[in-house]
């Protein structure tokens, strides 16, 4: 698998303060990678290094096979970005915002229309951005980031502050983009979002990666209890061993029609993060 993003032992200091402490990751084609961590963990700093906005103090970072300190027009034309601060022209319409970037990228005049339709904003094409809701603005920024059909898409907190319905819309769009082979690098502090979307995640705490892997595998790895929890119809919760005896008890309960739901005791990513760092995500 070719790495579209490769980071080796990245260190970044600000006034002697180490914000990133030897980060290393490899992200391949068509992968959704999530960099998870609380505010101030160093997620945005890493995105800035990967997109050439910041230079690392130590280590090597490559984007599309090129050192991020020497990115050229060739690489920039193959990436899309949705930064935490939206950076849209508030007085211009949705269409005019996209038209500007279509012209900059040298895309056809149909591209803004296609992009607005893709994110469901075609009806609002002539509306000034300042009159859009936050969810619509986020979708507009995503449309802009995807308009040039990027090979790598950087998304910094793409659903921050959105309601669940809008967040789900954004998730669908990200997944569709991945189906086209785009590599997605997203930062979030929303564990549920990461577990739903990402093929691999890295848990970042105070500039260091404390865990890396597939979200489900990580959760299984930290399932120390290894038990089965039954929610019964009378409201009781029963914890059973994950073995032959437990299976028999589950069978009995199912037979008697007592079971409301069966759960494993696998922790979620937030619990894993707390176990590893002693800190919560908030």
């Amino acid at each position: 698998m070719n790495s579209r993003i490769s980071v080796k032992n990245i260190v970044r200091e600000f006034d002697g303060n180490r914000v990133l402490k030897g980060i290393g990751i490899q992200i391949g084609e068509g992968e959704i990678f999530g960099m998870l961590g609380p505010s101030g963990a160093g997620k945005t700093t890493l995105i800035k290094i990967l997109t050439g906005q910041l230079v690392q103090t130590e280590g090597e970072a490559e984007l599309l096979g090129t050192d991020t300190r020497r990115l050229t027009d060739r690489e920039y034309s193959r990436i899309g970005m949705m930064l935490d601060n939206t950076g849209v022209y508030e007085r211009l319409s949705c269409y005019d915002n996209l038209l500007l970037f279509a012209r900059i990228y040298g895309l056809t005049a149909e591209k803004p229309e296609e992009a607005l339709k893709r994110v469901g904003l075609w009806e609002a094409k002539n509306r000034p951005v300042q009159k859009l809701s936050k969810g619509m603005k986020q979708r507009l920024v995503l449309a802009r980031a995807m308009m040039n059909e990027p090979t790598v898409l950087f998304l910094d907190e793409p659903t921050s502050g959105l309601d669940p319905a809008n967040a789900m819309e954004i998730h669908k769009l990200i997944k569709k983009q991945r189906e086209k082979g785009t590599t997605v690098f997203l930062t979030t502090h929303n564990m549920e979002e990461a577990a739903k979307l990402c093929d691999h995640v890295a848990l970042l705490c105070e500039g260091s990666i404390v865990e890396y892997g597939n979200p489900k595998e990580i959760c299984r790895r930290y399932n120390h209890q290894n038990k089965i929890r039954l929610s019964l119809k009378d409201g009781r919760q029963v914890l059973l061993e994950n073995n032959h005896d437990g299976a028999e008890k589950i069978y009995d309960c199912l037979k008697d029609g007592l079971v409301e739901a069966i759960h494993s005791t696998e922790p979620d990513l937030e619990t894993v993060f707390m176990e590893l760092t002693g800190r919560s995500f908030e």
Binding site: T51, Q53, D73, Y76, S77, M81, L83, N85, T86, G87, V88, Y89, E90, R91, L92, D96, L100, F101, R103, I104, Y105, G106, P128
Partner: protein, 232 residues
């Protein structure tokens, strides 16, 4: 340098300014004012079209400077400039795109002054050339202020101060000998002098030296601001 990107920025700026009344009013205020004043104020012994060189100097000391600073600092503050630069646009392409738009609008304003002043033939071209030189210097000062400022509010407060110096000193110099001595060393003072002496001997050594020296200082200040703060 990519012409396509420069034109894209230029076209964006046209649309954006049309919807930005604060910026728009600065482009229109002095050309409108000069038409009104020239038509309505006729006093004994007052030279013909007295207000044209006076307001033209104030216009070039104000409009390009404040607008360039406001546009640049707003783009910095709202992060749109960062997004542009991350989308393949080079700082020079952005500055040329926005700068050429401001020059064009200000030259249209200069056209209004020229029509009001009834300049014709060689005088007309001379007037437009002098205005162009002044607009370019003023534009660079605005770019330096915009690059130096962290947000629009700080850019506006600095540019109002600087603009007041360059716009009003040449006017006050008409009534005060001491201020006139100071005005001699300012580019706007020399521009005002050239506008008032059109059709005469043309550019003398003093004017050329002051304009060149002011131009060099402005370029140096912009370079300093750009090196220290960049465009984002």
């Amino acid at each position: 340098m990519n012409g396509r990107k420069i034109i894209a920025i230029f076209r964006k700026q046209i649309k954006d300014t049309m919807k930005n009344k604060t910026v728009l009013i600065q482009f229109l205020m002095f050309p409108l004012l000069v038409v009104i004043m020239d038509r309505s104020m006729q006093m004994k012994d007052m030279p013909e079209h007295f207000f044209v060189p006076l307001f033209a100097t104030m216009y070039i000391g104000m409009a390009p400077l404040t607008n360039m600073a406001a546009i640049l600092s707003e783009e910095k503050e709202k992060n749109t400039l960062r997004v542009l630069l991350m989308s393949n646009v080079k700082p020079a392409e952005y500055l040329i795109g926005v700068g050429s738009y401001i020059v064009l609008i200000c030259m249209l304003g200069a056209g209004v002054f020229a029509v009001t002043g009834e300049y014709k033939g060689r005088e007309l071209w001379e007037f437009l050339l002098i205005m162009l030189v002044g607009i370019l210097i003023s534009l660079l000062i605005g770019a330096a202020i915009g690059a130096w400022s962290k947000n629009e509010m700080s850019a506006v407060s600095v540019s109002v101060l600087v603009m007041t110096v360059f716009s009003f000193i040449p006017m006050i110099a008409m009534f005060n000998a001491r201020v006139k001595d100071i005005s001699r060393f300012l580019w706007s003072g020399q521009i005002n002098r050239l506008l008032n002496q059109m059709g005469g001997t043309g550019l003398d050594m003093e004017t050329a030296c002051v304009l060149l020296a002011n131009g060099a200082i402005v370029v140096f200040l912009f370079e300093m601001a750009y090196k220290k703060c960049g465009l984002v």
